[in-house]
């Protein structure tokens, strides 16, 4: 009897092992767009095996309730899989919240099932699991709310913010430590979760829209780490592996994003605390700029042989990506070499611009990363900036007093002509004036990105086809 049981257990563990391997392969195949779909299939197969293996477990009696939960979850999941590409950042934040919610609930249930028979170590991991999970739930919901513009995008700061946040986190850890010593304190446990939930809210309050790529990556990492902690609690190797993979993914993306914004990693690790978006006195507003009409812009573009388009979040806001594709087509037809320069933090999450442009059917081999394309700007006839601001600001290279000094930027100012599509001369998110606009080789194209690009396309079409 016992051997039979062990045999079943072995089968389940083997299924989990296969699932773990499939998960790793899944991420490995994400390395290139040509193999990425295999990666998704591997992930799906692994997930299916793991769920089937779990359903085989001895001790599971209530299949009906599991079935209902799986169906309800799927019904909620389908629309979440079909959101528009512009809404992917908030969808991602929302799913971080769901993942963390799952982890927090399971952790809480395990606590109440096991207390008071919890070893010190187990209680410590359990506390870590629910604290990380709890703060990720509310933090992600806040981030999603800001991205969806249900909540004000403007960062909210107040005096002593860091201190309040730090004290809250410290309080949560003190409760955690107390619970480690007295795992029978059933009443203390909810307070730890409540504090973690409150901390998550306060963590995101001071963060503005432009910081979202870092924050989403960070929350991704937290969600992964909390899942790994859950793996320790449940003694599930599969969960530990999946959590470690997700955690390292989130951390790597956070590091990439923080480098791209010239922040130290510790600064990011603590949630970009108190990133008071420096409102630099933009007092030099009166300097002259040169502007141009769509006709003039079209004439310059059609005379060019190399064009680099620099898209930013403004392009997504104006829903201009399909017009940009038409521009790409019109110029390519005329034999102009058109490429896109992608700054790592352009958009609202890592890789956001690539997805938006790919959706507009722009071939991915035309989308070039910052480090690869920066050397090409001096040989470029026209750099066309659409809805990007700070990532093109040359002050980041030269002006020590600038709040973004040191941030790697796209060297658009080195192109022969720079054209910037912009609504008005208002400074961008960070409120920093951009000297790029006053350069002699810069032409400002004032207007809505979608309408302006549409105007250029019309001109180009009228000229030749």
């Amino acid at each position: 009897m016992t051997t039979e049981l062990a045999g079943g257990q072995v089968v389940i563990e083997l299924l989990y092992l296969i699932a773990s391997v499939l998960f790793i392969l899944s991420l490995k195949w994400m390395s290139s767009p040509t193999s990425a779909r295999h990666g998704i299939w591997a992930g799906e197969a692994g997930m299916l095996l793991a769920i089937c293996g779990t359903l085989l477990r001895h001790g599971i009696v209530d299949y009906r309730l599991i079935g209902i939960a799986l169906v309800v979850g799927s019904i909620i999941g389908v629309p979440l899989g079909e959101v528009a590409m512009t809404a992917v950042p908030q969808r991602t934040a929302l799913s971080h919240a769901f993942g963390a919610l799952c982890v927090t609930l399971v952790g809480s249930a395990e606590f109440y099932l096991r207390t008071p028979n919890i070893s010190h170590f187990m209680m410590a991991v359990l506390s870590l699991e629910v604290i990380l999970g709890g703060l990720t739930v509310t933090g992600s919901l806040m981030a999603a709310g800001k991205l969806q513009e249900i909540l004000p995008q403007r960062p909210l700061t107040y005096k002593g913010q860091n201190l309040v946040n730090f004290l809250l986190l410290a309080a949560a850890f003190v409760i955690g430590v107390t619970l480690v010593q007295h795992p029978e304190s059933r009443t203390l446990f909810p307070f730890m979760i409540l504090i973690a939930l409150a901390f998550g809210v306060l963590l995101i309050i001071p963060i503005g829209g432009a910081d979202m790529p870092t924050v989403i990556s960070l929350l991704n990492g937290y969600a992964g780490l909390s899942a790994a902690a859950m793996g320790f609690v449940l003694d599930s190797k599969l969960l530990i592996i999946a959590g470690a993979l997700d955690g390292s993914s989130g951390l790597i993306l956070s590091i990439i994003m923080s480098k791209a914004m010239n922040r130290s990693f510790t600064n990011v690790l603590f949630g970009a605390f108190g990133q008071v978006q420096a409102l630099h006195a933009a007092g030099e507003e009166a300097r002259p700029v040169r502007s141009a009409t769509p006709e003039e812009a079209a004439a310059i573009l059609s005379a060019a042989s190399r064009v680099i388009i620099v898209p930013g979040y403004g392009m997504a806001v104006a829903q201009a990506q399909h017009k940009v594709r038409e521009l790409y087509d019109a110029l390519t037809k005329r034999g102009v070499d058109v490429r896109f320069a992608i700054h790592p933090v352009a958009g609202r999450m890592p890789g956001h611009m690539n997805v938006l442009l790919a959706e507009a059917d722009i071939p991915y081999d035309r989308l070039i990363e910052m480090d690869e394309i920066n050397g090409d700007f001096p040989q470029t006839d026209v750099a066309l900036v659409i809805g990007a601001n700070d990532v093109t600001n040359p002050a980041a290279r030269s002006d020590h007093s600038s709040p973004i000094y040191g941030m790697p930027i796209l060297d658009v100012d080195k192109a022969r002509t720079v054209m910037v599509i912009k609504r008005s001369m208002n400074p961008g998110f960070a409120g920093i004036d951009n000297p790029l606009y006053y350069l002699n080789n810069t032409l400002m194209l004032f207007g809505d990105a979608k309408a302006f690009v549409g105007g250029i396309v019309r001109e180009l079409g009228g000229g030749h086809s």
Partner: protein, 104 residues
């Protein structure tokens, strides 16, 4: 409870998996960072196995209720995550095999 040896085993797995994750994810093209995140999100929802056990074993009302919500949340991540990752990845096309209007 041989928890200390279990703990060491678990730590080994965690650290090694972290290294594999780091090496594998470092190689992911920045083109695909958005689908990468939605994919890891779906994979992370493997936490559903813990929730399924809670619901299935039905040891207490609280654990069953928490487990139920947890299964719902995780399943929506699995389904939504894989769906949207697939949608995104399918959008990435190279210019080599005929892009329709930009024909040479």
């Amino acid at each position: 409870m041989n928890s200390s040896s279990n703990l060491i085993n678990a730590l080994f797995i965690f650290v090694l998996a972290g290294f594999i994750g780091f090496e594998v994810i470092r190689r992911v093209s920045p083109l695909l960072h958005t689908p990468l995140m939605s994919l890891t999100n779906a994979l992370d929802a493997i936490a559903v196995v813990g929730a399924i056990v809670l619901v299935g074993e039905h040891k207490s009302t609280l654990s069953a209720v928490f487990g139920f919500i947890a299964v719902v949340a995780a399943t929506s991540n699995i389904v939504g995550g894989f769906l949207i990752t697939d949608r995104m990845v399918r959008m990435f096309k190279s210019s080599r095999p005929a892009t329709k209007p930009a024909a040479k």
